[in-house]
């Protein structure tokens, strides 16, 4: 019997990626989860099991902040799903229209904010919306709607929604590009066959194109979910680590940052911070699993 030769070259070629990925992603991830099981008592690090998580979920001071941040995170995600993705799909549908002129120009213009830094986006929008120097009040004045203006970023009831919409503005290019690419793969023959059967215009979009791009929409939704629950930068750049006013824009990322690294007189607590990071990881994991096993496997696919 001839033994199968070990194919060393596979290992050799995999090694660099595996080693780098382990060192910078897998090891820190598990080490963070491990850190969450410890606490500092009298300058000593002691193992406390799940006590940090118990504090996080059941201690009134911590749990109030945690549920507030989680609730804000869901609202942030909901705005993206309701605004960013439909607009992205609509833009993609418009761009893929064969008779649209300057399509490339629009495509680039809408995509450019995505490549800007969060700090620039946060700062620029803060200036635009500023009640003192901003152009938002003036522009509303031109159209006679000055009364609609409010210092949105400073009001508890509007701040989070405003920031979510800024984030939508920044990232709408991504669903647009992905859907646009998916729409381009829809074969002409199917559309022509539909036309022969009398399905044209809007009906063609709803009945032929949309079902064909549904898997892409699913992927975009899950990317949005992961991105939103890991979000931190925009809130931090615009509102600072305290995520004001009165924690109304506090999401899990800023809550974790504040706890882990400390803020002003508050000293950092890496163990509680890790517990929050662990909770974020679990939430994202559950969300992704629900999508993968609950939705993606049931989605009907068409052979093109």
């Amino acid at each position: 019997m001839k033994r199968a030769r070990i194919r060393w070259h596979i290992l050799v070629f995999l090694a660099p990626a595996v080693i780098v990925y382990t060192a910078v992603m897998i090891f820190p991830l598990f080490n963070t989860l491990r850190l969450a099981l410890y606490s500092r008592v009298d300058q000593e690090r002691v193992f406390v099991g799940l006590q940090n998580f118990q504090t996080l979920f059941f201690d009134p001071i911590w749990s109030e902040q945690f549920w507030n941040a989680l609730g804000n995170n869901f609202w942030f995600f909901l705005i993206h799903m309701l605004v960013q993705n439909p607009i992205g799909i609509a833009l993609a549908a418009l761009l893929s229209h064969p008779r649209l002129r300057f399509a490339a120009l629009y495509r680039s213009a809408i995509f450019i904010p995505t490549i800007l830094s969060f700090v620039i986006v946060g700062f620029a929008w803060k200036l635009i919306l500023s009640p003192i120097w901003g152009i938002a009040p003036e522009m509303l004045d031109w159209v006679g709607l000055k009364s609609l203006y409010a210092p949105w970023l400073g009001r508890e009831e509007y701040a989070l929604t405003t920031l979510a919409l800024v984030s939508v503005w920044q990232f709408v290019g991504i669903p647009m590009m992905l859907i646009y690419a998916a729409l381009l793969t829809v074969p002409e023959e199917i559309l022509e066959a539909g036309e022969v059967d009398g399905i044209t215009g809007w009906a063609a979009f709803w009945k032929i194109k949309l079902p064909l791009i549904l898997p892409s929409i699913g992927i975009i939704s899950i990317l949005t979910f992961v991105g939103n629950f890991n979000a931190f930068d925009l809130i931090y750049a615009a509102q600072g680590a305290l995520a004001g006013p009165d924690f109304s824009t506090d999401i899990l990322g800023t809550f974790m940052y504040r706890t882990f690294f400390g803020f002003q007189l508050q000293l950092g607590d890496p163990h509680m911070g890790s517990a929050i990071a662990g909770a974020m990881f679990a939430i994202i994991l559950v969300g992704v699993c629900i999508y993968l096993f609950g939705i993606q496997t049931r989605m009907r696919r068409y052979q093109l």
């Binding site: 009640p131 009040p137 006013p245």
Partner: protein
């Protein structure tokens, strides 16, 4: 023979070199004040070296945001400088407790400082002082003198006069009465609550009673400042909810607002930006003739690395820092940062001089939340930011805010339980 001569020559040089070293001690200062590098190199160090030949001083600052981390790793590695610039309260206390800072209580020059000045660098029981107080910042209000003259207004002494002045500015309409926003939150607490508050809780008396557990944050003297802050709402600019700290600074220095709730650290920046005359007034008292209290907040100190090779030279330097001569140089080079020694200092900058003159008329205290009370979770300082903003916006009543802060403090601080 020649070889021996060479050896001898080398040996002599070596001896001379060590001799020179023994004479000239070099002290290195760790600091986060990299803004002050030229001030140290051009004024402070030459003045010291002229008086103390044989001691050389080097000022080696790092970036403010990195200072604590850099200093900690240097101290652990044993490569930190001889002198350590001290942050106030818990950050430096931790260094002392870990054995990185020496106890300086026996330094004669410590007698030049009041207890309040030393409180930021003492153990909780006050038994050991480990840094020499260097500078503080004073809170109050800066106002546009031209605007006051134009509207025929007098500097307010009492709270009633203060609000009358604000009403008059508002009625005239050409200036925003007060430049402050709530977007960044800390101004409301630092320049609002802790600025006007000491007049209510009687400075040190109230602050120490709170630490001892004899007073509660629900007591009227602690909630009344929130009631006053709630009245500020009417006098802030349109959209103050989204107005940031730099916005407020710009509005005031552009001459669009009449009054700016301030800390004295603004002085040098405002001098450079504003082209109108500025004055300052202290937080108004409730009734004419009441004792006034000011927040004279300890901000910078300097201590000795416990592992230094030159403790004698380091102590000589620290004693000099505590002297009136240092105070004079420092105060005039950095108007708005005031030396903490009890000896009177001549300050040339008129605005800064106005701030420091209140020390003679009023009792000094420090911000109520800084010592001991912000060690736990929830953090009282951060909570006070939120509470002060809520008071100004009117989203919670002063009693609710007091109750919330008290509950948070009592949850971890034994004397308040």
């Amino acid at each position: 023979m020649t070889r021996n001569t060479l050896k001898l020559a080398l040996l002599t040089t070596a001896l001379v070199a060590t001799g020179a070293q023994a004479q000239d001690v070099t002290l290195t200062i760790e600091s986060w004040r990299n803004d002050d590098l030229t001030l140290w190199q051009d004024q402070i160090i030459p003045a010291f070296e002229a008086e103390h030949p044989g001691i050389k001083v080097e000022f080696t600052p790092s970036a403010p945001a990195e200072y604590n981390a850099v200093l900690n790793s240097k101290l652990d590695a044993g490569s930190a400088g001889d002198l350590i610039t001290c942050r106030p309260f818990d950050a430096s206390l931790a260094l002392y407790q870990n054995g990185h800072l020496s106890d300086l209580s026996d330094l004669d020059a410590m007698g030049n400082f009041s207890d309040v000045a030393k409180s930021a660098w003492q153990t909780d029981d006050g038994s050991a002082t480990f840094c020499v107080p260097m500078a503080s910042v004073i809170h109050g209000f800066i106002y546009n003198k031209d605007a006051f003259a134009e509207l025929g207004l007098e500097v307010p002494e009492t709270e009633a006069e203060f609000f009358a002045v604000l009403d008059a500015i508002k009625a005239d309409g050409s200036y925003i009465p007060m430049a402050m926003g709530t977007n960044d939150q800390w101004e409301a607490a630092t320049m609002g609550y802790n600025n006007i508050g000491p007049n209510y809780w009687k400075g040190e008396e109230g602050r120490l009673a709170l630490i001892a557990g004899d007073q509660k944050l629900t007591d009227p003297q602690w909630t009344a400042p929130y009631e006053t802050l709630a009245r500020w709402n009417d006098y802030l600019g349109d959209g103050y909810e989204a107005q940031t700290y730099p916005d407020s600074q710009n509005i005031f220095t552009l001459g669009r607002a009449a009054i700016y709730p301030a800390g004295s650290w603004e002085v040098s920046g405002f001098n450079a930006l504003a082209d109108f005359e500025m004055g300052a007034f202290k937080p108004p008292v409730q009734n004419a003739g009441d004792t006034c209290y000011i927040s004279d907040h300890t901000d910078i100190g300097i201590g000795m690395n416990a592992a230094t090779d030159n403790p004698e030279a380091a102590r000589t330097f620290l004693a000099w820092v505590a002297s009136p001569e240092f105070a004079e140089i420092f105060a005039n080079a950095l108007p708005g940062f005031f030396p903490l020694s009890s000896a009177p200092v001549d300050i040339e900058d008129p605005l800064a001089a106005e701030f420091v003159s209140w020390r003679g008329e009023c009792e000094s205290t420090i911000r109520s939340t800084y010592q001991i009370l912000s060690r736990g979770t929830p953090n009282l300082e951060n909570e006070t930011w939120g509470a002060s903003v809520a008071a100004i916006k009117g989203t919670s009543s002063p009693e609710e805010l007091g109750q919330k802060l008290q509950d948070g403090l009592a949850s971890w601080y034994a004397p308040q339980q």
